[in-house]
Chain length 257, copies 2
DNA sequence: ATGCCGGAGTTAACGGTGTTTGCTAACATT
DNA sequence: AATGTTAGCAAACACCGTTAACTCCGGCAT
């Protein structure tokens, strides 16, 4: 590498005049164009189809130029991960607009369905976020961004249950029966999700259980391994959703559409 | 391709003398050596580390020679998938030796734990079987073998519940409340798992629910995405296992070890 | 206005990959 | 012994990630 000048885009571009940003704007535009093309190729051809040379070719450039923007191919993928996590978070919170603040059940239903709908509408992106990771590739500066957005997603997702927990409607398991190892794992989970110290062990236990079930349900549908053909399995999702919600004291409602 | 002579190994080698098999034995040996090296590389370096050139180099051959055995790299991976499915099936049934035939609870517990233990001991293999698939790679003659073994695994897995169902201990959901779409999906699931026509809709509903939960639990642990550090999450698995088993009327028992 | 510096982009190169084509040489069969 | 089959080879094509050295031009300070 020439220098270590793969600066990250600021994200919050100051609305200054034109003197400085001229250069910066072009750089920002290049960033977004690279990522847009990378995403399209990811969707069309899977993770293997994302190659620096192909992206550069499509932009009318040569591959080494991209190293001005990303430290490596893996770094680009990490940057995409960060974007996807942010998009998923926004998608879920957006699904709650229109649902009244007091309708806790409705908000939870909408959020869980939104998670699934985003995953189905963005299968390749979902696979990149939640699929198996190859062992420790040469990472880059965007690794922490991906981690940060991932944590932010986990946090916003789990916060959905806060109102529910406050209302004491969830039948909490007897935390006295938890093994010490389980408690330690639950604490670690809370830490990695950015909600450390805010919940009791019983609450964490319920949160993880819900998350695991939702994750499994959606993974099975998105990766569509060994089960069900190409057509969607919404009925099973809804049925499982009802069962899952019953375990947290939320009464199921069928989707509106 | 020169010809279409990528014959599959017979598997059941006839114990004939030496005239014919001389050639066939060498071929069989080459097959297994290729797959052994491929698996080692898969484990050590992930799916990306499996390359025909590297395998050939390691065998003291050149890459094109491997096309005498596999139609493509993807075909080799499919062949590995078939082997892994068979190994996983055997691993699960082996876990039941030593558990008396009448101890239905014990057999189920042992089987579910065996699924997890195989996945943890063979993370890369598990990811190949149950991880996301890239869209329609150029497949090969081993595709149907992989599919067949996958079905066989699904069948053996779901058959575990047969005794349980016969004893009518599982509280079945009211199948009258199922939507027609759900019933259709359940039938399709049974068909793709090779157990079509053998169970009622209520039973299929319970089977899929169990499978989805186990799948999600193990996927989350193996792909270790966004949750938990490197250390194992057995306590959570056992806790979820207890909860899952309770839903099918099986009383939980802690592992022996 | 001049000079300079740094960033964006280039070409060339190294080593790696899947895959195809045509060939040789050993084997099996007749 | 002549035949046909088959495993393996070398060469080639088209890709890939990554590095190094170089050019060029815009923005900045003198």
């Amino acid at each position: 590498m020439h220098k270590d000048t793969t600066d990250l885009p600021t994200g919050n571009a100051p609305p200054a005049a034109s003197p400085q940003p001229r250069r910066a704007r072009l750089r920002e535009a290049a960033f977004t164009e690279i990522k847009a093309i990378a995403r399209r190729r990811l969707v069309e051809q899977g993770a293997e189809g994302v190659s620096l040379r192909a992206i550069a070719r499509e932009m009318g450039m040569t591959a080494p130029a991209l190293y001005r923007y990303f430290a490596s191919l893996n770094d680009l993928l990490l940057s995409l991960q960060a974007d996807f996590f942010a998009e998923l978070s926004a998608w879920i919170t957006d699904a709650n607009t229109g649902v009244p603040e007091e309708d806790v059940d409705g908000r939870l239903l909408a959020s869980l369905r939104a998670f699934r709908s985003w995953a189905l509408a963005n299968r390749a992106e979902f696979a990149l976020l939640f699929g198996p990771r190859p062992p420790h590739q040469p990472s880059g500066p965007h690794e922490e961004a991906a981690l940060r957005e991932g944590q932010r997603f986990a946090s916003t997702f789990l916060t959905l249950f806060n109102r529910l927990l406050e209302e004491d409607r969830i039948p909490l398991p007897d935390s006295g029966s938890f093994t010490p190892e389980l408690c330690r794992q639950l604490e670690q989970f809370a830490r990695s999700a950015g909600i450390a110290g805010r919940h009791s062990e019983g609450e964490l236990r319920v949160l993880t259980a819900c998350w695991v079930r939702l994750y499994g349900l959606v993974c099975m549908e998105v990766f569509h391994n060994m089960v069900f053909g190409p057509d969607d399995m919404e009925p099973l999702f809804e049925a499982e959703l009802a069962d899952l919600l019953a375990s947290v004291g939320v009464r199921y409602r069928p989707p509106e559409g």
